[in-house]
Amino acid sequence: MRLSSLFDADSFRRNRLAYACAAGIIALALLETANALLAPLRAPTDQDWRSAATSLRAGFRPGDLIVAAPAWADPLLRMQLGDLIPVAVAGRLDAARFGRIWEISQRGAQAPESQGSRVVQSSRHGALTLRRYERPASQVSFDFVAEWNHAIVSRVAPGGQVSWCYRAPDRFDCADPPAQSVRAELLEIDTSPHLALATSLPGHATTVIEFDHVPLGRELAVGAGLHNVWLRKSGKGTVSLRVLVQGRELGRIPAGSLTGWTLRKFDTSALAGQSESVRFEITVDDPTARYFGFAAEARS
């Protein structure tokens, strides 16, 4: 059978654009149907996850970081390997201290934590790819959250009166106002986990958290933000974190409902190798529904 007996060639020549559009829609329908049928088969299976986890465990060393790419796969990753991801690692300040990073990825994604690192190991596990990255890690000389119990915590009223907060086994209790505390706590800041020094704030006073004899390195990394999605939604105030070393201000970090987790790195290279006092001063313009947290590391 000749093609011309099936199709009107004259009509085709007159309306090429229209026919191309119609053919395009039909082709799109075929493509979309095929994708709908085949795409589910591309998803990683439980077996893929188990296989990748087994390989990872074989090479895991204490202190390694494990991440999922894209990040939304993290619950599946933790179901397989959550015992290797303690709360302190999940709620990290950032990934700078980790020299070895394991990444289980799918669909060609790469985690932000591993970007700029060198791939030293890679293996396929069905729809998943397991990679180990290595890079020079920051050496943390002082972790302010882990060392929370070495802090001196006080509240300073506008007139300069100081009221001290007293250390309990798991927190500092402040008397002004009563029932407020400063503690190391896992917070939800910008819908991510952050282990941080946390406190609600009195409107009238400055909360001061000071550490003496902190071994400083090249930089002081400080992350800060407001905890709890519901509080962020209902409150309006802005918290200000002032960072001082040796009484000299390095900078301020504002934290409002929409600022998320703000990470700043202050240059302390001039003081590297010295032990100095580091002071954090926290103020707020409106304390209603504000629960603030910050984490900091002195790094070399």
């Binding site: 199709f7 009107d8 009509s11 395009g24 204490p62 599946l76 933790r78 986990p193």
Partner: protein
């Protein structure tokens, strides 16, 4: 087949819509059992059953010879105050359907799980083994009616196969399909908007439909408050359709202009040749004020304004004893709605942006359009875009041969004069503008900066049946193009059915693929479930997705029976128990952050703003390792934590 190649069934106009409605309802009934109970839905179960309780109280009052007792404020309020922020029509139907069609397991251990007193085994027509299915049945039937309506409406513009295609495309949308199965209001109000739209359309040539339009509008008002917007969209279409009627006329009692001004106006009028706009009195100078004379108000709008509230009032006993105050409360509740939490493009939105961040507002304003572009099957979108072009070109055609795809079953009647009873008698009914306002109206409303942050396709779901009709026009155009190319008669006759099937196939396949997680489904452009998650689009809401985890929860129920259900409302847990999916007596430690630590087994629904609840489990259970995860195509939806699961090896942080 008849002589023009149409199946005989087309000649009986009720057969095809009936078949479509039955097929739709059948499809929904076949799959709804794997669809978890949505949070709002569980409240409507409870309210529906309570509303039914009032009818029982009425029957009791009638039997005792005191029927007026059931209408007292105390009795009415005791039943109808529940969930009074939403009107009652669908909830009443859900309660009625439950009472008629559930398989009664209502005595014994489950007797105390009902929101109303159960005095004994119900006599019912036990169509459904699960009580939740009996509740859902009216919504499912209504979804079938919606599909039939799309077919009937689309037949005003396109042939039967294209109209059938439009009907299929209206339900074969993953998000719409999700809502069509459950006993909420979003798919029902979409059907009601379609019903009102159709009645309005027909009222343009028929006064009988003008009256029906008001009655249907009352039903829509009694379904969901989205109905408030329906007249706004119809008015835009009406004014466009009758735009030729706009005239400027002098207002009564107008004064004359000063001579110098009158001279100037007269000169300008003369320059225009005396045509258009200004009517110049022959004596006494020009009037100072002119009045814009819009088209006359049609019967449909009069009917909607009068019959609509009457029907609403009649259907809503909660209004009976304080109609004005309570109607105001209802309006204020939704006019002053709080902002929801909603994930869009990787951000959690729950606050209006400060003035300094105009860019955030612009980003938020794109939400309804981007969401539509990423959730409706791409072929449907392409067909709708084609349909829009066809309708846009329609009025610019050069001749009869240049109207390739759509038929005009309602051309202006020769010599007819328009009246308020038949306001569209003498003009083209402007189907393109009609579909445009019905589609863009709901989307545009959600994009307004003054609209609270809602999120979710459900909030503009009323646009979707009309979008499908537009796609039907596109389908007709593709069919027409193919038919002009193909020579063999038989092949040409087979084309409409073949192309309708082929072009509906991706939508049906995508919809089936998405089930039961239609809310988390994204289309080919986005990359499916995984693509939507990577784009940071909302994955779910209402806590429905726990259903696949119930067998695991049942098997791992802690000895303490302390279970944290997160966003799964207690009403939903109770309905899972009544459905036999959870054991009677399953624990529920309650809601809120403080109770997580009291639980020994807890679930977290994975929405971006719910992250805090997962971290509370990490702290309370001292592990970041979920005991179980429910995922669809590799995208997690729910995690479950279990206290006392093997403790994690505490690895020290590196120095």
């Amino acid at each position: 087949m008849d002589q023009v190649g149409q199946p005989q069934g087309w000649r009986r106009p009720w057969i095809v819509p009936l078949a479509l409605a039955l097929a739709t309802s059948g499809w929904l009934l076949a799959v709804e059992g794997s669809q978890g109970l949505a949070r709002d839905e569980a409240q409507y179960f409870r309210a529906g059953e309570r509303y039914w309780g009032w009818f029982e109280a009425l029957a009791d009052a009638v039997r005792s010879g005191k029927p007026r007792q059931a209408f007292s404020r105390a009795v009415v309020d005791s039943y109808w105050s529940d969930n009074h922020e939403h009107p009652p029509l669908m909830k009443t139907l859900y309660g009625l359907s439950w009472r008629l069609f559930h398989r009664c397991d209502c005595v014994g251990a489950k007797q105390g799980l009902h929101p109303i007193a159960v005095h004994g085994k119900h006599r019912t027509l036990p169509l459904f083994s699960r009580e939740s299915t009996a509740f859902r049945f009216p919504a499912i039937l209504l979804a079938g009616l919606g599909v039939a309506l799309v077919y009937g409406f689309a037949r005003r513009f396109v042939g039967p196969w294209a109209a059938a295609g439009a009907a299929v495309l209206s339900v074969a949308q993953p998000h719409y399909f999700f809502h069509a199965q459950i006993s909420c209001f979003d798919a029902p109000i979409a059907v009601m908007a379609l019903l009102v739209g159709w009645a309005y359309w027909k009222s343009l040539r028929s006064p009988r439909w003008g009256i029906l339009c008001g009655v249907f509008y009352g039903f829509a008002l009694a379904t969901k408050h989205n109905a408030w917007l329906i007249p706004c969209f119809l008015v835009v279409h009406y004014l466009w359709m009758r735009r030729g009627d706009f005239t400027w006329e002098p207002s009564k009692g107008s004064q004359t202009l000063p001579r110098w001004c009158a001279a100037g106006e007269g000169a300008r009028e003369s320059a225009r040749g005396g045509q258009g706009g200004l009517s110049v009195p022959k004596a006494g100078g020009l009037p100072t004020r002119f009045r814009l004379r819009p088209p006359r108000i049609p019967l449909a709008f009069v009917s909607m304004a009068s019959l609509g509230p009457v029907v609403l009032f009649a259907l809503w006993p909660w209004l009976w004893h304080a109609p004005v105050a309570r109607a105001r409360e209802w309006v204020n509740r939704h006019a002053q709605h709080e902002h929801y939490n909603f994930e869009y493009l990787g951000q959690n939105w729950n606050l209006p942006p400060p003035p300094a961040q105009a860019g955030r507002w612009l980003l938020r304003a794109t939400f309804p359009f981007v969401s539509t572009g990423l959730t409706v099957p791409v072929t449907t979108l392409a067909l709708a875009a084609t349909g829009a072009l066809v309708l846009a070109r329609r009025r610019r055609k050069k001749g009869p041969e240049d109207e390739p795809a759509i038929v005009n079953l309602e051309p202006p009647e020769q010599g007819a004069r328009a009246s308020w009873l038949r306001p569209g008698a003498d003009v083209d009914l402007a189907p393109g503008m009609f579909l445009a306002v019905q589609i863009l109206g709901p989307l545009g409303t959600l994009a307004l900066p003054s609209t609270p942050i809602f999120g979710g396709v459900k909030h503009f779901l009323t646009a979707m049946p009309f979008l499908a009709m537009l796609a039907g026009v596109g389908l007709a155009w593709v069919t027409r193009q193919a038919a002009t190319l193909v020579r063999p008669t038989r092949l040409r006759q087979a084309l409409p059915a073949a192309l309708a099937g082929l072009l509906c196939l991706p939508a049906v396949a995508e919809t089936q693929r998405s089930h039961p997680d239609g809310l988390g489904h994204y289309n080919l452009l986005a990359g499916g479930f995984a693509g939507g998650a990577s784009l940071g689009m909302n994955r779910q809401f209402w806590g429905y997705s726990v259903l696949p985890l119930l067998p695991w929860i049942k098997a791992h129920r802690p000895p303490s029976n302390r279970v944290y259900w997160h966003d799964v409302l207690h009403d939903a847990v109770m309905m899972y128990v009544r459905d036999g999916r959870l054991p009677v007596g399953i624990g529920d430690v309650g809601v809120g952050e403080s109770v997580v630590a009291q639980s020994d087994l807890g679930i977290v629904i994975l929405e971006k703003h719910f992250a805090v609840y997962e971290y509370l489990h990490w702290e309370a259970y001292q592990t970041t390792r979920p005991a179980q995860v429910y995922a669809h195509e590799g995208v997690p939806f729910v995690v479950a934590y279990q206290r006392g699961a093997p403790p994690p090896r505490q690895e020290p942080l590196p120095p």
